[in-house]
């Protein structure tokens, strides 16, 4: 069979498509669906995943910023630390503590 004839036969086969009878219980099913209460709209999985991804990205950005800040912080001791150093309180040996300042 040549190509054109084959195509014609396929297109002509549309005539062989007969209408079908739909489900005889369709009206009952529709009525049953109408009696059901409309469920509260649930959050779709897609939106849930998007929200989760955004939260992960935000958390990662926060961690990155914090780490950067820690790395860039100058090695200057804090106020409390400088007092501890000045009085030698960080030393465990009570005899060598610089008590003369007190």
């Amino acid at each position: 069979m040549n190509k054109e004839k084959w195509i014609d036969n396929i297109i002509r086969s549309a005539g062989a498509v007969q209408p079908v009878t739909s489900n005889p219980w369709m009206a009952t099913r529709i009525e049953a669906r109408l009696q059901e209460r409309v469920p509260a709209s649930r959050l779709s999985l897609q939106w849930l995943m998007t929200a989760a991804a955004i939260m992960i990205i935000l958390a990662a950005m926060n961690i990155a910023v914090l780490r950067k800040n820690i790395a860039e912080r100058p090695a200057v001791p804090s106020g409390v630390q400088s007092v501890i150093n000045e009085y030698g309180w960080s030393n465990d040996d009570p005899y060598s503590a610089n008590l003369s300042k007190q």
């Binding site: 069979m1 040549n2 190509k3 084959w6 195509i7 036969n9 396929i10 297109i11 086969s13 549309a14 062989a16 498509v17 007969q18 209408p19 079908v20 009878t21 739909s22 489900n23 369709m26 009206a27 099913r29 529709i30 009525e31 669906r33 109408l34 999985l45 897609q46 995943m49 998007t50 991804a53």
Partner: protein, 181 residues
């Protein structure tokens, strides 16, 4: 004016009168009997919930066809976009990517089955409006005027759509010809 809220018997009669035609149109468009039944039910639920949408400008059947076609378009769009979504792709099991099975129309005799499988496969590849116009004309035997009312187009626009649909269908089928493989 359609009003079924106080008259369940009239509503049931309305469904029984139109359900076969709506179901057949939807089945030819979506090519999936279970989906077609669900969409047909949705059409009649919409009619019950929003009867005021029918303003009497066209025949009730034309209005029903419009609702049905819009629902088919939404359904096919959702179905097509399912595989393209990034999250679906990331979290899917991979089953969704499988090629759908050939559509065997339940109204076709066994001797014509093979040919209609090719026909429906080719129809699926037609652009949406051409697909709809062809189905309404060739499978639903609607006149160009009726198609123009259903699709909210002018008659010449329908004629042009049908001309292009026939041309494209031949082109698509030409690529499917088994003798060339």
């Amino acid at each position: 004016m359609l009003q079924f809220r106080d008259d369940p018997t009239a509503y049931r009669a309305f469904i029984l009168e139109h359900q076969d035609r709506v179901f057949n149109l939807v089945l030819n468009k979506v090519q999936q009997p279970e989906d077609a039944e669900e969409i047909t039910q949705d059409v009649f639920i919409d009619v019950f919930r929003k009867p005021e949408a029918f303003r009497g400008e066209a025949a009730v059947s034309t209005w029903l066809y419009r609702i049905a076609l819009n629902k088919c378009i939404d359904h096919l769009r959702k179905k097509n976009s399912r595989g393209k979504n990034l999250f679906t792709r990331l979290f899917s099991s991979g089953r969704e990517k499988e090629e759908p099975a050939d559509f065997i129309h339940p109204g076709v005799l066994s001797e014509n089955r093979e040919q209609t499988v090719f026909l429906f496969k080719a129809l699926k590849q037609l652009p949406g409006k051409q697909h709809t116009a062809w189905i309404l004309s060739e499978l639903d035997n609607r006149t160009n005027r009726e198609i123009s009312e259903i699709m909210a187009l002018t008659v010449p626009a329908v004629e042009s759509l049908l001309f292009r649909a026939r041309q494209n269908l031949r082109k698509i089928l030409s690529g499917m010809y088994p003798g060339e493989k």
